[in-house]
């Protein structure tokens, strides 16, 4: 079923490095690749600082990516020219002229592609919902102004159209039309997050990047927001990239889940598959740590502890992302792949 769907977003070898003062760099995202298909909810989990938020921001072009390519609706929307130029230099030095030429061509093409994507305005098809709704809404703008801003920037000038559209999205997220004239401080946390969702929905996006949309909310309100997102997705066929650290919610909500660890994607599989057959030791540690509202279970729980230095021996071969079962990818090297396959069969 999943194979039939159109690929909406493709990320290839995405790298995002940050420079820290003198010399040091942080590899926030280090060479990850994945697809998101139309209509699916793609969950992304991992501990804080593992680069999941950075990945989201890279995709929506809040950062200039260091390396790799991002394709959206068939357009190449961003490309890590810097990294490619560095590679080109290296290739030339090593004397691999054929590969160097191909890369040079790719760089040229990438520049043209990115310009083309800009002209085609594909980026309006991608919107983001942020973690803290009160921090991402301007306190001096009314809700109408906040929601309409995107439309105006996208070139809509007709006031009536804007009004109608604002009313529509407010209705869509379960707010009343008269809420449009209020300011954000007049709303509760759940309503504020609804405004955030309304703002993202106003341009009829294909893809929504939801960056921890519920973790700053109260429990009783979290359920409201999850239900709303679920409804929107079923009604409008939205594609959502759902970034969160609460695994119960991610499992409840997502079709496929990617697990990240220290800037690398360590495992990617369909939800049921991931929970039934976790391969990577980090995923296992993560799953064993999920708290459940069940005291007896909690008292007996044995948590698996993951220490990357002890778990893997990558001194001989660096790991790559490999398919162990259909649609189930794990970051491993040859020795580990053999081990995982043996586990799968035995």
């Amino acid at each position: 079923m999943a194979e039939e769907r159109e690929v909406l977003l493709r990320v290839e070898h995405l790298k995002q490095y940050f420079k820290l003062g003198i010399g040091a760099t942080v590899k926030a995202v280090d060479d990850i690749s994945f697809d998101i298909k139309r209509g699916e909810v793609f969950g992304m989990v991992g501990e804080s600082g593992c680069g999941k938020t950075t990945t989201g921001r890279d995709i929506i072009k809040l950062y200039d990516i260091t390396g790799g390519d991002v394709y959206f609706k068939g357009y190449r929307i961003s490309s890590g020219i810097k990294d490619k130029k560095k590679q080109l230099k290296k290739l030339k030095k090593e004397g691999k002229t054929a590969e160097a030429e191909a890369l040079a061509k790719d760089i040229k093409q990438a520049k043209i592609d990115v310009k083309k994507a800009k002209k085609a305005k594909v980026m309006t098809g991608m919107q983001m919902i942020f973690q803290d709704p009160s921090a991402c809404l301007n306190p001096r703008m009314t809700i109408r102004e906040i929601i309409a801003e995107g439309l105006i920037i996208a070139g809509e000038k007709d006031k009536e159209v804007i009004d109608r559209r604002v009313k529509e999205v407010l209705d869509m997220v379960g707010l009343l039309p008269e809420h449009a004239e209020r300011y954000q401080h007049e709303f509760s946390g759940g309503q504020r997050q609804r405004v955030g969702i309304a703002r993202a929905m106003v341009l009829n996006p294909d893809l929504i990047i939801a960056d921890e949309p519920i973790s700053a909310l109260d429990v009783s309100i979290q359920a409201q927001v999850i239900n709303l997102l679920n409804e929107l997705r079923n009604k409008m066929g939205l594609t959502i990239m759902f970034i969160a650290h609460d695994l119960s919610v991610v499992k409840y909500f997502s079709d496929r889940i990617a697990v990240m660890y220290y800037g690398r994607m360590v495992e990617l599989a369909e939800t049921e598959e991931l929970f039934a057959h976790p391969f990577h030791p980090y995923t296992r540690a993560l799953l064993s740590a999920i708290p459940l509202p069940d005291p007896n279970y909690e008292k007996q729980r044995k948590r698996i502890i993951y220490e990357s230095a002890l778990e893997h021996d990558y001194s001989e071969q660096q790991p790559t992302f490999r398919e162990i079962r259909p649609g189930h990818f794990v970051l491993c090297n040859d020795a580990e792949e053999r081990k995982f396959r043996a586990e799968d069969n035995g």
Partner: protein, 712 residues
């Protein structure tokens, strides 16, 4: 006995729009070593009540009533100075907002060690005062015993000479102990470092490991002590030199197995040295002090301990103990006499106060005098040699004074109001909320507690056994003396801080130690805050949503850490959260709060397997767990505005099971079982039978069927 009990706590906040009633009549007890989880949404008053325990309520808060009893003190009434000894030291708190509890312009390492060093200094100072005080009190008591002809009492000249000897040899024992402790810490540090290096050897490049080895060698070079690794131990020195040489070989491309073996050897050598029996520094101190010319044989520690104990007992201790015992008995007898007097006075005062109504013109001076004389007589009843402090008696002066002050002030304002005179702006808030009965009750309560305690002690006096008191006192003095010299140095604090950082799961703590808070991610910052809270070894740890911003693995780690500390140190934990899933792991008991009141209270099994309040149902059903497939049952609406708290059950408007009476009258607590109670009219015998939502029933059934072994 409960270590902390909160009774009928009522707190409101004065705002421009009116008074917000944040906490409305909350009561609970916590036993030592127990975890209480307080669950509720934001604005339910859970953080406010805990801030009251810490004494850090915002300036516009008014405590309208209730009490928070901790080790016999009412934390709502003690002075700020007294609170300094409790806050952070005895009761510590982990805050939710990490950015505001860390100083942005000071490096994390400094913030971690600051408290340790200051606490260490304060402990040293306090122990010194305690040590000298106790000795002085002991000397006076022993002299008193001699005067009154107690059996075994020694003459004043002998007593003062003996005490001089005691101070002297305790000092020389302490010097040895301090040296030993420092060396021991260095050894432990080296062992930790080696463990770290052995892990790094697998993946790190040789150069980085070489650097680590260099760092490790520094403390390894300072472990020399008579009883640990002797300075004359050439073998150990050779081992260090060998590692140094081998390191150079390894860095320039040598084999890692050789250095690994040597590091293991060093580590096991040090562990063996650390595990060896420790000399008894107290008795050894006497031998060195009394016989400086005799050389001590350190080769066999057990024999040394036996020998020095023998010497101490024969020459000094047995004789001295007789005198101490007489002194203790004398002091005890005197205090019992005084206690009887104090009880009589207290009862008279109680009667007088309950019969009289305060009149400013007549009673001003009399009341002040009453506070003074009563406090004096209560304090005279304290046995200063008793090691277990009766905190009611010790804090009587401040608590009683404060209670009387409030009462007098209220009476004055009432008179003013009655006469229709102007009330100053500053007093108006107080004047509007006068509750005379409560103030009177508070006064009576403070008196009653002391009377009760004193009567108990008088009763026990007849059967008192003095055989061990003398030894206990000597032990106490010994303990204080050894704390007196236990200095927390900068390097020690740093090592401990790094260990703590490692313990709470901060990777590369040595590097992180030198960074500023803004260089940490949210989860890492939270861990730093937890490490700081733990560094003081508190009795009670209040965790205000400590794991809300963390991901599951770290959350599980932190919860395990808290659980472990709880077991090891008999730590009492109050855990505030809005996530019921988290609580199942840590809580012994759970209090569910809504709109400033506890709505359900029970053990964690009670609350998870047979929840009774509709709000608890709503909380449980609004979160998916790993097997949830159905639509979640969101709670409609928002929490009530606490400016105008609803008349009936506060949750009624959002509650689809609400009865008519829920809107009219507040439900009382209905007991479901001895440990479980809930405030909802649904439990009333006349109420219709209502089943919890299906999603919960399903889940409970699933949980019970699996018997605790359902892993997704």
């Amino acid at each position: 006995m409960a270590i902390l009990s909160v009774k009928n706590l009522i707190i409101s906040f004065k705002t421009n729009n009116g008074t917000v009633k944040a906490v409305r009549d909350v009561s609970f007890d916590i036993e030592k070593g127990e975890t209480l989880a307080i669950v509720g949404e934001s604005g339910s008053g859970k953080s406010v009540s805990m801030r009251a325990v810490m004494g850090i309520l915002a300036g516009n808060a008014i405590v309208e009533g209730g009490e928070i009893l901790y080790s016999g003190m009412d934390l709502l009434k003690i002075s700020e100075d007294d609170f300094h000894h409790i806050r952070g030291n005895k009761i510590s708190m982990i805050f939710q907002d990490t950015l505001s509890s860390l100083n942005p312009i000071i490096k994390v390492g400094k913030q971690l060690t600051e408290a340790m060093i200051l606490n260490g200094k304060a402990n040293q100072r306090e122990s010194k005062v305690d040590f000298e005080d106790k000795l002085k009190v002991l000397e006076t008591a022993m002299n008193g015993a001699y005067e009154h002809g107690y059996e075994g009492a020694s003459a004043p000249e002998k007593t003062s000479a003996d005490i001089k000897i005691l101070t002297g040899f305790v000092g020389s024992g302490n010097e040895l102990e301090a040296r030993y402790n420092a060396a021991y810490d260095h050894a432990q540090n080296t062992i930790n470092n080696i463990r770290h290096i052995l892990i790094q050897l697998i993946n790190q490049p040789p150069k980085a490991v070489g650097k680590l080895i260099d760092q490790m060698l520094k403390p390894a070079d300072k472990v020399y002590d008579e009883f640990l690794i002797r300075e004359s131990d050439e073998e150990y020195k050779a081992l260090l030199a060998y590692i140094k040489a081998e390191k150079a070989v390894y860095v320039s491309g040598g084999d890692k197995e050789v250095i690994k073996g040597k590091l293991n050897e060093l580590s096991s050598r040090l562990s063996a040295a650390c595990e060896r029996e420790k000399p008894n520094f107290f008795t050894l101190g006497y031998s060195i002090y009394a016989h400086p010319e005799t050389a001590q044989d350190y080769s066999d520690i057990a024999a040394l301990n036996a020998r020095t104990r023998q010497v101490l007992d024969d020459e000094f201790m047995l004789d001295f103990l007789k005198g101490v015992r007489a002194g203790v008995k004398y002091s005890f007898d005197v205090s019992i006499e005084n206690k009887k007097k104090a009880v009589a006075e207290l009862e008279a005062a109680r009667k007088y106060l309950s019969e009289n109504v305060y009149d400013p013109a007549r009673d001003e001076k009399a009341y002040n005098k009453l506070v003074e004389t009563l406090s004096d007589s209560v304090e005279s009843g304290i046995d200063r040699l008793d090691i277990d402090k009766d905190s009611y008696a010790y804090t009587f002066r401040t608590t009683f004074g404060a209670a009387m002050d409030t009462y007098v002030r209220a009476q004055k304002l009432e008179k003013r109001k009655a006469a229709g005179r102007h009330i100053p702006k500053k007093q108006r808030q107080f004047a509007d909320n006068i509750n005379m009965e409560l103030y009177q009750h508070n006064i009576e309560l403070t008196i009653d507690k002391v009377v009760e305690n004193y009567n108990n002690q008088i009763e026990k006096a007849a059967t008192a056994d003095f055989s061990n008191y003398g030894i206990e006192i000597i032990d106490y003095i010994k303990d204080k003396a050894s704390k007196m010299v236990y200095k927390v140095t900068k390097t020690m604090a740093k090592d401990r801080a790094i260990n703590l950082m490692e313990e709470v799961g901060i990777p590369e703590p040595r590097k992180r130690y030198k960074q500023y808070p803004f260089q940490f991610s949210g989860g890492m910052r939270q861990r730093v805050v937890i490490a700081i809270a733990l560094s003081a070894n508190p009795d009670i740890l209040i965790c205000d949503e400590p794991t809300t911003a963390l991901d599951v693995t770290i959350q599980a780690q932190i919860l395990e850490l808290i659980n472990e500390l709880k077991r090891e140190r008999q730590l009492t934990v109050i855990f505030i959260t809005h996530d019921l899933g988290v609580v199942a792991n840590v809580a012994d008991r759970i209090a569910v709060m809504y709109a400033g009141k506890i709505v359900e209270y029970g053990t964690s099994e009670d609350v998870f397997y047979s929840p009774a309040h509709p709000y608890t149902w709503a909380l449980l059903s609004s979160m998916p767990d790993l097997d949830t497939k159905d639509k979640l049952e969101a709670i409609p609406g928002t929490p009530p505005d606490m400016l105008f708290p609803p008349k009936g059950d506060a949750f009624a408007v959002r509650n689809k099971y609400a009865l008519k009476i829920d809107f009219e009258e507040m439900p009382p607590f209905f007991d479901i079982s001895p440990t479980h109670k809930a405030a909802t009219w649904l439990l009333h015998p006349d109420a219709p039978k209502v089943e919890p939502p299906k999603i919960i029933l399903d889940r409970i059934e699933r949980m019970q069927r699996n018997g605790g072994v359902n892993n997704g």
